[in-house]
Each structure stands twice: as structure tokens, then as C-alpha cells.
């Protein structure tokens, strides 16, 4: 951030203004952008996008009445929740109950501090960036457990306990699958992690070795579980637990829990993009600082939002797992595989300290092959649906 403002001053954007005023104003503007654009637009807009994508996958239309194509639906929903009565149950632990949503919200907003939106657009480039994210998002568990306990309701308590068990378990494979990348780059800072990669897909860490390739999938799966997303949405399983730890909440506190949940979807995408997919890197096209910052921001946003879309798509595809399946996936599959992964990655770094270029091309080609196979399956299913539709028409004069 400071570098960005320095380069703006050097290019003569603020003639006759003291540098500390520029710094202060810059920080204020950036904080406002983060709060307004990301917390509101991303979390709110994601609810709308998710409902539309989900509806289309289920052959429905989804909300399309408020504004053009229903684009203002999320605003209306938000205003509705803001105007609702804030009910606190008589038997609830009053202060814990009121405090819990803020803890969840802090855990979620805290993650934005180290999200690198561009080479200069970052609030604080900490040297422990990626560890900071894993630890600050763990604050969400405290909030959820607090909400579950304070509601004094069986559904809430079971939901809260399930969520705590789930997040604590899945933090292990998530943290372990970060390590292959950390071993390759030799740093924990978000910006240095991105600088170790390049703009071209074959320069990304995900294709650097077979171990980071596997780690990518393990990380995405455990991040979904940590964010309480389907197929791991047991803490708020509607069919079993009413709404889990949010059962007793209403109005603006309810809104906060869901803002955190949907905003978290974007955070998952942002971490995946930073660690594995080259972050904000763009091809060298311009020298203008502002244009470059905008392009980098767009690149990063599109990449990370793509993974939020994939999470929505998974939600529309996969059924919810059972509690025992959830735990067996974590402890029997993800944790052992990520340990093997770390060992393999360490050996890989030892054998090829400067990387191994044929592997980049091999893995990139493999991914292209998987994507090609995937689309061939899509075409297959489309064609089969068309054949089924045609066969449904059979002639009968009685019809």
C-alpha cells in the first residue's frame, strides 16, 4: 500500500500535499473500499449469484424480479433482514448471544487484511501472511461455538459442536497442504508467494510438482469443509438441525452470520489463487501504475471468484455427507495423503532446487486433458437428454 502511494507521489499525482496526509487519506480510502466493496458487494452479490447459478443447474430461473434480471435481490433481502426484530430468547445467555456474531464477523474480516489484490494493493503484507489467515479464520469456530452454547437450544448446541469438531479437524489437512507450496517458495508472506510464480499458467505452483498438484485439491476440499459448505454443511444441516447454530438468531445478527459465510467463499478462492494459481500476475502490457493496479485487481478477482463459483456448483451437485463419513474423509484420507505430500515435496525441492520444467508442462497438459474429458462428458449428457426428450413422443390417436 505504502509503495503504491509512494509511486503515485513520485509520478506527481498529489502536488503540494504532505506525504503523511496522502498516506492517511490513502489508508482511509482503501479501508472504505475493502469494507464497502468486498464485505457488502461480494458477500451480498454472492448470495444473488449463488441463487441464480443454483437455480439454473436445477432447471429453474431463480430470483429475476427485482431490478434487471433480479440483480438487486440481495439488497432487498439485506434491507428486509435489517428491519426485522432482533429477538433474544429469554433462556439464552444474553451477552454471549449478542456478542457471538461479531466474533464470527471479525474472524472473517480479519482475513481480508492479508489478501493481495495486486502487487501494491494489500493492507498489510505480513511475513507470516498465510499462517495469519489460517489462524484468524479459526476465530470463527469460537464465534460459532459461542452462538451454539448461548442460544440454549439443542439444535444450536449440536450445530455448534459439530462445527467446532469439523473446523478443528479440517484445519489440519488445510494447513498441511499449504506446506508443499511454502517449501517451494521458502516464504509465508502472501506477496512473496505470488512473486515466486508467473503470469502464465505453467508458471503457477499448482503445476510445479505432482505434490503441489495434489495439495491443491486437498486444500480446496478442506477449505470447503472449514467454510461449512456443502457437501460438508453438517453444522447447519436443515433436514436434521433446523438451522444449526443460527436457529435462534434473527434480523441483523442472522445477516452477519450469513455475510461471513458467503464472504468466506470468496476468501477460500483468494487463498487458493494466491497459493496455487499465480495470484495477480498479468502479462507485461503497461507501465502505467494505475492501469497496472486495475488489471492486477481484475485478474485476482476473476481468478478467486471462479473458485467461489466452483464451490456453488459443487453445492448444487453433491449430497451432504454423514458425520462419520466426514471424519473418515478427513482422518483416513486427507491427513495421511497430505503427510505423504509434504515428504514428497521436501524430496522434490531437495532433488530439483531450481524446479523441473518438463513437469510443469506435463501437469499443465494433464489438467487440459481433464478439462477436455470433462467437457466431452458434458456434451455426452446433453446429447443423451436430447435423445430422451425425442423418445418421449410416441404416436397415439387417443392422446
Amino acid at each position: 500500500m505504502q509503495e503504491f502511494l509512494d509511486s503515485l507521489i513520485a509520478q506527481g499525482y498529489f502536488p503540494g500535499v504532505r506525504w503523511d496526509v496522502v498516506y492517511f487519506g490513502g489508508m482511509l480510502v482503501f479501508a472504505a473500499i475493502v469494507l464497502l466493496v468486498f464485505i457488502l458487494l461480494v458477500a451480498g452479490g454472492t448470495t444473488f449469484v449463488e441463487r441464480r447459478v443454483w437455480a439454473r443447474i436445477q432447471s429453474r430461473v431463480g430470483p429475476n424480479r427485482v431490478g434487471p434480471q433480479g440483480i438487486l435481490q440481495w439488497l432487498v433481502d439485506g434491507i428486509k433482514l435489517l428491519m426485522k426484530e432482533d429477538i433474544i430468547p429469554a433462556a439464552a445467555d444474553r451477552y454471549l448471544f449478542m456478542f457471538a456474531p461479531y466474533v464470527v464477523m471479525v474472524g472473517f474480516i480479519g482475513a481480508f487484511v492479508v489478501v493481495p489484490f495486486g502487487s501494491r494493493l494489500i493492507i498489510a503484507d505480513m511475513n507470516v501472511g498465510i499462517l495469519y489467515i489460517t489462524s484468524v479464520t479459526a476465530l470463527v469456530v469460537v464465534g460459532i461455538l459461542m452462538a451454539g452454547w448461548a442460544s440454549n437450544n439443542k439444535w444450536s448446541l449440536i450445530g455448534g459442536i459439530r462445527s467446532a469438531a469439523q473446523i478443528v479437524s479440517y484445519e489440519i489437512p488445510a494447513a498441511l497442504s499449504i506446506f508443499p507450496v511454502v517449501l517451494m517458495s521458502g516464504t509465508l508472506s502472501m506477496q512473496s508467494l505470488i512473486q515466486g510464480q508467473g503470469w502464465a499458467p505453467w508458471d503457477w505452483y499448482v503445476f510445479a510438482s505432482p505434490f503441489t498438484f495434489v495439495a491443491f485439491f486437498i486444500f480446496f476440499t478442506s477449505a470447503l469443509a472449514e467454510g461449512n459448505r456443502t457437501p460438508f454443511d453438517l453444522p447447519e444441516a436443515e433436514s436434521e438441525l433446523v438451522a444449526g447454530f443460527v436457529t435462534e438468531y434473527s434480523g441483523v445478527r442472522y445477516l452477519m452470520f450469513f455475510m461471513a459465510e458467503w464472504g468466506n467463499l470468496y476468501i477460500i478462492g483468494a487463498i487458493v489463487t494466491t497459493l496455487f494459481l499465480g495470484g495477480w500476475h498479468i502479462p507485461p502490457v503497461t507501465d502505467n501504475v494505475v492501469v497496472q493496479a486495475v488489471l492486477e485487481f481484475i485478474t485476482f478477482f476473476v481468478k478467486s471468484y471462479f473458485w467461489a463459483l466452483v464451490a456453488m456448483w459443487i453445492r448444487a451437485t453433491l449430497p451432504r455427507t454423514r458425520v462419520d463419513q466426514l471424519m473418515s474423509v478427513c482422518w483416513k484420507y486427507l491427513v495421511p495423503i497430505s503427510f505423504v505430500n509434504i515428504l514428497g515435496a521436501a524430496l522434490w525441492v531437495l532433488v530439483f532446487p531450481y524446479g523441473f520444467w518438463p513437469m510443469h508442462w506435463l501437469l499443465f497438459g494433464l489438467s487440459l486433458f481433464i478439462i477436455g474429458y470433462f467437457f466431452s462428458r458434458v456434451v455426452f449428457h446433453l446429447r443423451r437428454a436430447r435423445v430422451r426428450e425425442r423418445d418421449q413422443y410416441q404416436f397415439s390417436p387417443l392422446s
Binding site: I57, S59, W313, R377, L382, P397
Partner: protein, 198 residues
């Protein structure tokens, strides 16, 4: 592929990846199909009422121009939702002072329209009866006393020859018959022949 047998640790992982990939291909293919939602009532090509079959039994309507005041419908109604008051006036004939149908009671059986000699009482394709009070569902057809219709002595019957026309279906629904007349006749003959043979 069968997923019932135990494929071991790595076989299970392979199955998981393949099945998830295929499941996601199915859901992705749905993104590229047309949604099957019908956005009733305001975002449709035409009103639902116009797409209903010819003999659809909707809300009842009386054409007082041709009503003879014979009370056949009132007698036929099994739940007495039709009330008709008719008086005989000198030099004028039958005069109707009341013709009420309580659509809240009506069960849309169609028994009233069967005995009607002129087809005055008939079903319309209208079905949207939602209202704020039950009283507003009572349809009162006679505002001022009306002289009942007197049928002519010559035959006024069902037409013996009908000529169905699909122009409306063509213009409103952009509908085209899937088989032409000759082909349809051939298929019908064939179908009946097979039916008799079977």
C-alpha cells in the same frame, strides 16, 4: 462400471474422483439447457386461459341473451349453488329477476351445462377466483329484470358438420402439427389395425 464391490483404498479414491467429475458434468450440462420454469402469470407467451383445452371447466358464465329461464340448471345442480327467480308477466312472457351462481360453492361438475337447451350456461376457461371475501364470488347475472329468450320452433340444434380450425394455435403458440393429415390418417388406421389384431 459397478461401484458396489470394494475397490480398496486407492480404488475408492479413483472412483470418488471419476464419479464427482461425472456428476459435475451432469449439473454443468443443466446450465446449458433451457429452464423449465413457467413464469405464471405475467411472463408467458400468452395467457394460461388461452392454452387450456376446449372443454375446460372453469368459472361458470350465463349468456342471458339466449337463456330461456327453464330452471333446468337450477334443478340439475347437486349443491344448489344456482338460484333463479322467474315470473310470468302478461304480454311479455317469462321475466327473470334473479340469476345468481355462488362460485364459492360450485364444484365445477358441469351438470348444469348438460341439460341447458340453448347452451346459455357454460364454463369459461377462467379459473382465477382469488378474492378478499366469499360474497364477491357470487356472480349475479341479472341486474335489471330480463325477458327470457323464446326458442324458435325450427330446429336450432348442434351443428352436424364441424370444421376445426388451428389458426389460433398457429398465430399465438407458433404451433405446427407434427404430422400432416394423410400421414396422421395412415398412422391412425395402422394403430387401430394393430389394436384389433392384438
Amino acid at each position: 462400471m459397478s461401484y458396489t464391490r470394494d475397490r480398496g483404498y486407492f480404488g475408492g479414491i479413483a472412483d470418488l474422483c471419476m464419479t464427482i467429475l461425472d456428476g459435475m458434468a451432469v449439473t454443468f450440462s443443466h446450465l446449458m439447457r433451457k429452464p423449465s420454469t413457467v413464469q405464471y402469470p405475467d411472463r408467458m407467451g400468452m395467457r394460461v386461459q388461452d392454452t387450456l383445452p376446449f372443454r375446460y371447466r372453469g368459472i361458470l358464465e350465463v349468456d342471458l341473451e339466449i337463456c330461456t329461464g327453464c330452471l333446468a340448471c337450477e334443478r340439475a345442480c347437486p349443491i344448489d349453488c344456482i338460484v333463479i327467480d322467474v315470473t310470468k308477466e302478461k304480454n311479455v312472457g317469462m321475466v327473470m329477476t334473479r340469476f345468481d351462481i355462488d362460485m364459492a360453492k360450485c364444484m365445477y361438475c358441469g351438470l348444469c351445462s348438460e341439460p341447458c337447451p340453448t347452451g346459455a350456461i357454460h364454463h369459461t376457461p377462467e379459473f382465477e377466483g382469488a378474492d378478499y371475501s366469499l360474497e364477491s364470488l357470487i356472480r349475479r347475472f341479472v341486474k335489471d329484470p330480463v325477458v327470457a329468450y323464446k326458442p324458435k320452433k325450427t330446429g336450432e340444434d348442434d351443428p352436424k358438420v364441424r370444421q376445426p380450425d388451428i389458426t389460433r394455435a398457429r398465430t399465438h403458440l407458433a404451433w405446427e402439427p407434427r404430422v400432416d393429415v394423410d400421414e396422421g390418417l395412415r398412422l391412425t388406421f395402422e394403430w387401430f389395425r394393430n389394436k384389433i389384431a392384438a
